[in-house]
C-alpha cells in the first residue's frame, strides 16, 4: 500500500476520534441529520420555553453554590418551607403554615401532607434539619453559611466548631414539624426560608453521592416544580415538569431549555430568529427596540455607589465628599450611559424593598442626595481651602464595561462641574477588592446585592468594626441605630431606626455617593407570560410561567 494512503487512513481515523470526543449536545442527541430540524422544532414547539443564562452554571450543589445562576436553577428544582409568589411575597410551600411565638424568636413550621422527593419518598422535617446543619457544618466550608448562622441560635458557634450539632436551635419533634429558635426577632425570616441555602437535603441520598452531589441530573433529588433532565456547566440545563410536585396543577410549562450564552449580541440574534423567548438587551441596543411591544424593564435589589475612603487625607474632608456627591446627575447616568432599565439612585436602599406599615423603605425616606451643582461648587471651594491645595483624586473601578462607563461618566461630570481632575484606576475584579481591603484607594465604584428583603442587608455592612473595605467609616450613633433595629420587635420603631441610619450614612457623613439601582432591559415574546424575576434570593422563577 502506498504511503500516502496510509497517511490518509490515519488522518480519517484521527478526525473520527476527535468528532466522537466533541460530544455535540443537541436536544435530540440521535444523529446529526435531524439537527437541521432542531431550530424549527425548538421554535415550533409551542409549549417549551427557551431561555438562557449569561454565564456558566458552575455547580448545582445547594451546599456549595454561591452565584445567582446556580441559585436560579436550584430555586426551580428544589423548594424550601416558603416560596416567593409572583409578587415576591413569601407564601407557604413545603410548609403549610407556621406559628410564630410572641417574642418573635420561635418559629414552628408544619409541613404539608404528601410532599415527595422525585424518587417518591416523603419530604420530612428531618430533611430540613439535615440540610441546614450540613450547610452550617464547618466541614462543608460554604462561604454562604452566614445566611443561616446569623439567625439560628448557636449557628455561628457550630460553624466555628465550638458546639455540637444538637445544640443548634433547630429540631424536628416529628416528621411534619420543624421548630426553629432565632437569636433575635427577624421580621424577614420567612422570606429567608425561600432561599437555596434553606432547602432540605435527604441524608441517605447525599451521603451516597457526596462528591458527585449536584454534578448531574441523577445526582440530585427534586422537590420543586421542575426536575433537571440534563446539565452541562458550559452549555446549559434542561428542566422538565416534576410530576411529584405538590402543586403540579399550577405548573403549566412542561419543559424549559436553558442555554449558556455569554455574548449579548448572540442572544439577540437567537431571539430575533425565534429560538429564544426572552433576551436581555445591552444598552447599545435599547434605543432600537424600546418602542417594540415586546420590550420591558425590571429592577432588582442591587445598588451601585461610590465608596469614599475616609481614611484618605483628601476624602477625610467632609466638604470634598459632599461636593463630589452633589456634582453629578444620576438621571443622566440612567438615561444615557446605562440605558438598560437601571434607575437613578438618590439613596442606598433600592426601591421596592420593604419598609413598614405597607410602605416601602424608599417611599418612607424619599430622596436623600439630589444633584445640586451650585452647592457642590461652593462646598468644593470651601473644601479646597481647608485642604490648602487642589487635591488630586483617583477612582478605582473593576474591568467591567458598565463599571468603566460609569467611571468615565463621573470623571467627566466632576471635571465639568467642579473642575476636579480625577484619574481612573482600572483593576481586575479581585484586584479591586484586594485594593479596597488593603486601603489602597480613594474612591471606588462598588455595589451590593441584597440577601433578603430588608434594609438591614445594607445597613449592617457599615456597622461592622472599622475596616478599609467599607471606607474606614465608624460612627457610634450609626452603629447604635443598627443594633437597636436588630433587637427591636416593633415594626415601626425598627424601621424608624433604619431610616435614620441611612440618613446619617449618606447625608450627614457622606460615606457613599449613590449611583444607580441595577435593572434589566429585555424583550419577551408576546405569547410568554408569568416569567418571574425575583429582585433577590433565587432570581429566576419559572413556576408561574405560561406559554400560549
Amino acid at each position: 500500500m502506498s504511503k500516502r494512503k496510509k497517511w490518509l487512513f490515519l488522518l480519517v481515523l484521527a478526525v473520527c476520534l476527535v468528532l466522537s470526543a466533541c460530544n455535540f449536545s443537541g436536544p435530540s442527541k440521535k444523529s446529526s441529520e435531524d439537527a437541521g430540524k432542531q431550530a424549527s422544532t425548538a421554535a415550533g414547539d409551542n409549549k417549551t420555553l427557551n431561555l438562557y443564562f449569561n454565564n456558566d452554571i458552575p455547580d448545582l450543589n445547594p451546599l456549595k453554590a454561591t452565584d445567582m445562576i446556580s441559585f436560579s436553577v436550584l430555586g426551580n428544582v428544589l423548594e424550601g418551607l416558603y416560596r416567593l409568589d409572583a409578587n415576591h411575597k413569601p407564601v407557604p410551600a413545603m410548609a403549610k403554615d407556621v406559628k410564630i411565638s410572641d417574642d418573635g424568636l420561635t418559629y414552628t413550621f408544619t409541613l404539608r401532607d404528601g410532599i415527595k422527593w422525585s424518587d417518591g419518598s416523603p419530604v420530612t422535617a428531618q430533611d430540613f434539619v439535615y440540610g441546614w446543619l450540613t450547610e452550617m457544618d464547618p466541614k462543608t466550608a460554604d462561604a454562604y453559611s452566614f445566611i443561616l448562622t446569623d439567625y439560628i441560635v448557636n449557628g455561628d458557634k457550630f460553624n466555628k466548631g465550638e458546639v455540637k450539632a444538637d445544640e443548634v436551635g433547630i429540631e424536628a419533634p416529628d416528621d411534619q414539624t420543624l421548630v426553629v429558635h432565632l437569636k433575635q426577632p427577624t421580621p424577614y425570616f420567612l422570606s429567608l426560608t425561600t432561599f437555596a441555602k434553606y432547602f432540605p437535603i435527604k441524608k441517605d441520598f447525599y451521603e451516597k453521592n457526596k462528591d458527585q452531589f449536584g454534578k448531574g441530573p441523577d445526582k440530585l433529588l427534586y422537590n420543586g416544580p421542575y426536575k433537571l433532565t440534563s446539565f452541562n456547566p458550559a452549555s446549559g440545563v434542561t428542566l422538565e415538569k416534576n410530576d411529584q410536585y405538590w402543586d403540579k396543577d399550577n405548573v403549566s410549562v412542561p419543559k424549559i431549555n436553558i442555554k449558556v450564552i455569554k455574548e449579548a449580541s448572540t442572544a439577540l440574534n437567537l431571539y430575533n430568529a425565534g429560538q429564544l423567548d426572552y433576551v436581555q438587551l445591552s444598552s447599545e441596543d435599547v434605543n432600537q427596540y424600546k418602542d417594540n411591544p415586546e420590550f420591558g424593564t425590571t429592577t432588582n435589589f442591587r445598588s451601585y455607589y461610590v465608596q469614599f475612603n475616609l481614611g484618605d487625607k483628601v476624602l477625610a474632608n467632609e466638604k470634598i465628599r459632599k461636593a463630589l456627591q452633589y456634582a453629578y446627575d444620576p438621571k443622566v447616568l440612567e438615561k444615557v450611559i446605562l440605558n438598560n432599565g437601571s434607575k437613578a439612585a438618590y439613596g442606598l436602599i433600592p426601591p421596592g424593598m420593604a419598609g413598614a406599615g405597607g410602605k416601602t423603605f424608599r417611599e418612607m425616606q424619599g430622596d436623600l442626595i439630589k444633584p445640586d451643582v451650585k452647592t457642590a461648587k461652593r462646598l468644593w471651594k470651601e473644601g479646597v481651602k481647608e485642604l490648602g491645595e487642589t487635591p488630586k483624586l483617583s477612582l478605582l473601578v473593576s474591568d467591567d464595561s458598565v463599571d468603566k462607563d460609569t467611571a468615565t461618566f463621573l470623571q467627566s461630570q466632576w471635571k465639568k462641574n467642579l473642575g476636579a481632575e480625577v484619574s481612573i484606576v482600572t483593576k481586575p475584579y479581585s484586584g479591586r477588592l484586594q485594593a479596597m481591603r488593603d486601603n489602597d484607594y480613594q474612591m471606588a465604584v462598588s455595589a451590593w446585592g441584597a440577601d433578603y428583603n430588608d434594609p438591614m442587608t445594607y445597613m449592617d455592612l457599615w456597622a461592622a468594626p472599622k475596616n478599609a473595605f467599607r471606607g474606614n467609616y465608624e460612627n457610634k450613633a450609626y452603629i447604635d441605630l443598627v443594633l437597636q433595629a436588630k433587637k427591636e420587635k416593633d415594626e415601626g420603631k425598627r424601621m424608624a431606626a433604619l431610616l435614620k441610619a441611612e440618613k446619617i450614612l449618606l447625608k450627614d457623613d457622606a460615606v457613599l455617593a449613590p449611583l444607580y439601582y441595577q435593572g434589566q432591559a429585555f424583550m419577551q415574546k408576546a405569547n410568554v407570560k408569568g416569567l418571574v424575576f425575583h429582585p433577590w434570593g433565587n432570581p429566576w422563577d419559572y413556576k408561574y410561567a405560561k406559554k400560549q
Binding site: 443622566v332 462607563d405 467627566s412 465639568k416 484606576v425 484586584g431
Partner: protein, 310 residues
C-alpha cells in the same frame, strides 16, 4: 554536496586574512546597493501610493483632532450616539464624544504601539533568533527553552501582576509586550538561519574571514529580510489589539484616552445598532495595514539580494 562535506574539517575554514579592512574585499560597495534599491522602490506603483496614503494618515493623526472644534475627551450627554453628519464627521459615541477627534488621537497611540512592537521584534526578536541559530548546539537548546518557558507561563497572570506593581500607561504596556512580543520573530529568524547555514555563500564568507557578527549582519539578516518584514506585518496588528486588551483590564491607557484597538473593541459592542463606531476605526487600521504591507512588499522586492534578477 553532502558527501564532499564529510571530508572537510574545521581546519579548512581557517581565516586567511586577519586585516579587518581586507575582509571580504570582494564585496561590492554597499551604497550602490542602497541606491539601486531606492530606484527600484520608486518604480513600484503600489509602494508609492501607499507611501502617500501613509503620509496622509500620519498628517491626520497629527492635525486631525485640530480640524474639529470638539475635543476627544469632551463629553456631551445631549449628543450621545449621533450618526455621522456635517457636525460630527464620524458620529459620536455613547458619551457624545466626537469620533473624528477620538480616532485620530487613537491613531497616534496605535502608531506608537506599532513602532514599539516593530522595534522590539527587530531588536530582541531578530538578535535572539540569530544568535540562537548561529551558535547552535547547547546555546540554541538553552535559548529555545527560555522561549518555551516564556510562552508557557500564562501571560495574563504576568500582566495582572504588572497592574499591581506599576502605574498604568504606555511604559507599562511596553513592559508587558517586551515579555513575549518578540518570540515568533526569534523562532522564525532561527529557522531561516538554520537553512542559510547550509548554503555555499555563507561558507565562502566564513572562509574569507568574516567574523561572527559580520556574518549575522552582512549575510544572515539581509537574506532573512523578506521573512522579517512579513512577520512584522503580523506583529503590528496583533500588538495593536494586545494593547486594547491590556487597556481594558487596566494595564494600558485609561479613559478618556483611547487607541484604535480600544475604539474597535468598543465599536464591536455597538455594531448592531451603531455600525459607524466600528466601521471608521476599522477602516483606518485596515488602510494602515494595507499600506504597510504594500510598502513592505515593495521594500522586499527592492532590497532582498535574492531578487536582483527581477
Amino acid at each position: 554536496m553532502g558527501m564532499e562535506k564529510a571530508h572537510l574539517t574545521e581546519e579548512f575554514f581557517a581565516p586567511i586574512a586577519t586585516d579587518p579592512k581586507g575582509m571580504e574585499s570582494v564585496a561590492r560597495d554597499p551604497s550602490i546597493g542602497w541606491r539601486a534599491s531606492w530606484r527600484r522602490l520608486k518604480k513600484n506603483r503600489g509602494a508609492v501610493i501607499s507611501l502617500a496614503v501613509l503620509t496622509v494618515i500620519i498628517l491626520l493623526a497629527i492635525f486631525g483632532p485640530m480640524m474639529t472644534p470638539y475635543d476627544y475627551a469632551q463629553a456631551d450627554y445631549e449628543e450621545s450616539f449621533k450618526t455621522p453628519s456635517g457636525d460630527h464627521w464620524f458620529g459620536t459615541d455613547k458619551f457624545g464624544r466626537d469620533q473624528w477627534a477620538r480616532i485620530w488621537e487613537g491613531t497616534r497611540i496605535s502608531l506608537y504601539i506599532a513602532l514599539l512592537a516593530a522595534a522590539l521584534d527587530l531588536v530582541i526578536g531578530v538578535m535572539f533568533g540569530a544568535i540562537s541559530a548561529v551558535c547552535g548546539g547547547k546555546v540554541d537548546m538553552v535559548m529555545q527553552r527560555i522561549i518555551d518557558i516564556l510562552v508557557g507561563i500564562p501571560h495574563l497572570i504576568v500582566v495582572i501582576l504588572l497592574i499591581l506593581f506599576m502605574k498604568p500607561g504606555i511604559l507599562t504596556i511596553s513592559v508587558a509586550m517586551v515579555i513575549t512580543g518578540w518570540v515568533n520573530m526569534a523562532r522564525l529568524v532561527r529557522s531561516q538561519i538554520f537553512k542559510l547555514k547550509a548554503e555555499e555563500f555563507v561558507l565562502a564568507s566564513r572562509a574569507l574571514g568574516a567574523g561572527f557578527f559580520r556574518t549575522i549582519f552582512k549575510h544572515y539578516i539581509p537574506n532573512t529580510a523578506g521573512l522579517i518584514l512579513i512577520n512584522l506585518m503580523f506583529t503590528i496588528p496583533s500588538a495593536i489589539f494586545t494593547e486594547a486588551f491590556l487597556s481594558f483590564i487596566g494595564l494600558g491607557l485609561q479613559e478618556p484616552l483611547a487607541s484604535l484597538g480600544v475604539l474597535i473593541n468598543d465599536g464591536y459592542h455597538a455594531m448592531q445598532s451603531h455600525y459607524y463606531l466600528l466601521f471608521f476605526p476599522a477602516v483606518v487600521i485596515v488602510a494602515l495595514m494595507i499600506c504597510f504591507n504594500l510598502l513592505a512588499d515593495g521594500l522586499r522586492d527592492a532590497i532582498d539580494p535574492k531578487m536582483k534578477n527581477k
